[in-house]
Amino acid sequence: MFASVISGAVCGIESRLISVEVDISNGLPGFSMVGYLSSEVKEAQDRVRAALHNSGIHLDPKKITVNLSPADIRKAGSGFDLPVAVAMLAAYGRIPAKTVEGIFFAGELSLNGELRGIHGILGMVGEAKRAGCHSCVIPAANAREGAVIQGIRVYGAKDLDGTVKHLLGEEILEPYTINIEETFQNGGKCPKEDFSDIKGQEIVRRAAEIAAAGRHNLLISGPPGTGKSMIARRIPSILPPMTFDESLEVSMIHSVAGILPEEGILCERPFRMPHHTVSAAGLAGGGTVPRPGEISLAHRGVLYLDELPEFQKETLEILRQPLEDKNIVITRNTGSFVFPADFILVASRNPCKCGYYPDRTRCRCSEHEVRRYLHRISRPLLDRIDLHVSAEPVTYEELQNDAGGESSAAIRARVLKAHKMQTERYAGYKIRFNGELPAEAVSKYCQTDEEGRELMQSIFTKKRLTARTYHRILKVARTIADLEGEEKIQTKHLSEAVCYRPEE
């Protein structure tokens, strides 16, 4: 007897539907699984056998062959337990083959027959819906995540027994539904960290606003305890809220990584802050079957690298290409995967190893040590960061000042306006934001008035700028002008942009 059910596998961040075929034949009893499987998928046979037995289902000893097709995709993960079990029952004739048609199955079985949650459900259910499945049976733990996809019935099953009863029509499960609009709205609204918590640090705060408005990368230098991380953490709150499509896209990535919040959908822009011991694969994504790294988890949000010089040099160099291309291509022997990585890079560093340079009364580093510390970050990487600011120690008066600064909402309003201007300006061009402006297009899009041109010329010679720095100042000035709704860059915009240039 033969039967097949539909399941899915994660490839990169995309999901592919997999058909799980089971054939039962006479002969020497045995269980073999084929179809380019990783070891955890092969182990399914033991889990399935025990789970069936412990759910009170006894099957005759036969020759069982399981094939997962298409056979050229590497299958990994534990989500094939349930489809294999269901397909076996259908092949044994315990469940009518007709009833499993058009149903997507995924889930891990424990030996007593309970269903456990798996990663990547969101993408799989989305793919099942696209392929025309009318419903899906997934672990109850993942039901909320699956229900985010509209237009397909999502059943969250607790155990194998419940699944069988549902399929036989003995005890039909309730489809899991959520009000997606409401969830999305509420998620965006829930209380979060606000810029009004920050005291002082006007310059860094302003730089954060510019970074958000033009999607520039930002480097904050400053002694410990000056609120570098606090400010970085609040940057998502001044970025425009995610659209539903963006939210779904980001949730898909987080689902694959298994870190989706309970609501089943990510409503706020992600903020990722990997520790400086992160490995290259952890940052960029990797593994034999590549999984998204931190830069992809920060897609559409902020990647914050605290203590930038402490990161492994090789790890940091990985960032160079994704910062340009907004995605990363990872090639392994199982294939090539493209992970999106469109994020704002915010980095912080101490001015020296002890953190107090140039305050020589406290700093104990030698000139050489200071220089070596700062030179750990390579020039090509620094060249991709437009805004360089330093955070100053907070004074007592500022600490005592309860008023705090501007709220995130007020800043966000200006950022939104600047985004709108950029959308209009770059309509039909390959980029969307000032931060992405390539050098050759700077002169076209960053037009200054006559006075500004003269100023730029004198700055160039006076401050001994390089061509690179010159372009960066213009790009940042463009964003500052956008924040004020000005079409032409004026001298005041340029003069402010000069303050954010990198130290040569």
């Binding site: 310059i203 140039p358 050489h368 330093s390 005041k492 003069s495 402010e496 303050c499 240039r501």
Partner: protein, 365 residues
């Protein structure tokens, strides 16, 4: 090599013996009578020395075998290192008067000029911005007044002062604690290159001598010796700059110390010098008067503030001779960043302010 003095190559050879210092050289000279006699000292003479318990004879013997005075002179020329001995009339006059003057000097570039006022500016390697800027101001004043700056070409105060003097078109001389061809510290390579062109690099040690810890205190007697005035900018309690100041006092040089706040570790040494009776640095113009006399022209700074708009005046009044950060300026003026940046930039272009480091601004005098 100097043609007028045919003994010069023997002097160079004597000073070039690796591992021998002034007392050893003097002892050899006293025994043999002339540097040429040292070179020609026979094996029997050396053995006799050994018998008397002199442990460094092997160094002389080895150098005798290794290089003839002519070869050594050629090797120096190849490395563009020149030599001047105590017998030579070009030997700095200032050094003739000091105790333990070296037998000769190896140098690249030029020797300090006799008729220019020499100011030694010394201080801590790990200095504050205040110290660095003060050193730069003094160096600039010296250069513009026609003087020359002597120092140790180290990080911090020394290097900053010398660089500032060179940048204002003045002369500067670095006295090293290693061979004249060694760039130490390596990070000051640019300074060394400029010193060679616009001044000189001096050392009493032969080429190839390593920058050993013990070389530096001894070297300091030359810094003060080559100077007329020694200014100590920042020094901790136990600092090499204080050794220089001690030498300066012994050599009858004028010593000035830049005062600091009581309790600042980096000023403890300077304040102690002042308490011991050294001159106090009050301001650049005060020092200029003391060094160059009142005839030196003084620029008026009053006229600058006249044509400024109110907000510009506000910013200008908040600027000092020592740089303040953009953040401090913003807090004290209360102006928005875009306006403040614009004003500072304009004042910089008009020559009223200067940016000493990124986002640090000071008044221009």
């Amino acid at each position: 090599m100097d043609k007028t003095n045919c003994d010069e190559i023997y002097w160079a050879w004597l000073c070039g013996i690796p591992g021998l210092y002034l007392p050893h050289q003097t002892m050899l000279l006293n025994r043999c009578g002339s540097p040429r006699a040292v070179w020609e000292m026979p094996e029997s003479g050396l053995r006799e020395l050994e018998k008397q318990g002199v442990c460094w004879v092997e160094k002389v013997r080895r150098f005798q075998r290794e290089k003839t005075p002519e070869q050594f002179a050629a090797a120096l020329a190849e490395r563009k290192i020149r030599f001047v001995s105590r017998e030579n009339e070009r030997y700095p006059k200032r050094l003739r008067t000091i105790e333990n003057a070296p037998l000769g000097l190896f140098y690249k570039g030029k020797l300090p000029e006799e008729d220019r006022t020499s100011v030694a500016i010394v201080g801590a390697r790990m200095c504050t911005r205040y110290g660095k800027e003060t050193a730069e101001q003094i160096a600039r004043m010296t250069a513009l007044g026609g003087g020359q700056v002597i120092s140790g070409a180290a990080y911090g105060i020394d290097g900053a002062a010398q660089m500032a003097a060179l940048e204002s078109g003045g002369l500067s001389f670095g006295v090293l604690g290693c061979g004249a061809e060694t760039v130490y510290p390596r990070g000051n390579r640019l300074l060394f290159e400029r010193l060679e062109q616009q001044g000189g690099i001096l050392s009493e040690l032969p080429p190839g001598a390593a920058p050993l810890r013990s070389h530096f205190p001894v070297r300091n007697r030359l810094i003060s010796g080559l100077a007329d005035v020694v200014v100590v900018v920042e020094a901790r309690k136990r600092s090499g700059s204080l050794i220089t100041a001690d030498y300066a006092a012994d050599q009858n040089r004028e010593v000035y110390a830049v005062p600091g706040r009581a309790g600042d570790e980096l000023s403890e040494g300077c304040n102690e010098l002042i308490s011991q009776g050294s001159g106090i640095f009050l301001s650049v113009s005060h020092l200029r008067k003391n060094i160059f006399g009142s005839s030196a022209e003084e620029k008026t700074e009053k006229s600058a503030g006249l044509a400024l708009a109110p907000s510009e005046k506000l910013v200008y009044s908040n600027l000092g001779l020592h740089a303040r950060s953009l953040y401090e300026l913003q807090t004290s003026t209360g102006l928005p960043l875009s306006e403040l940046g614009e004003i500072l930039l304009r004042m910089e272009l008009d020559g009223l302010a200067r940016e000493t480091a990124k986002n640090y601004y000071a008044k221009v005098k």
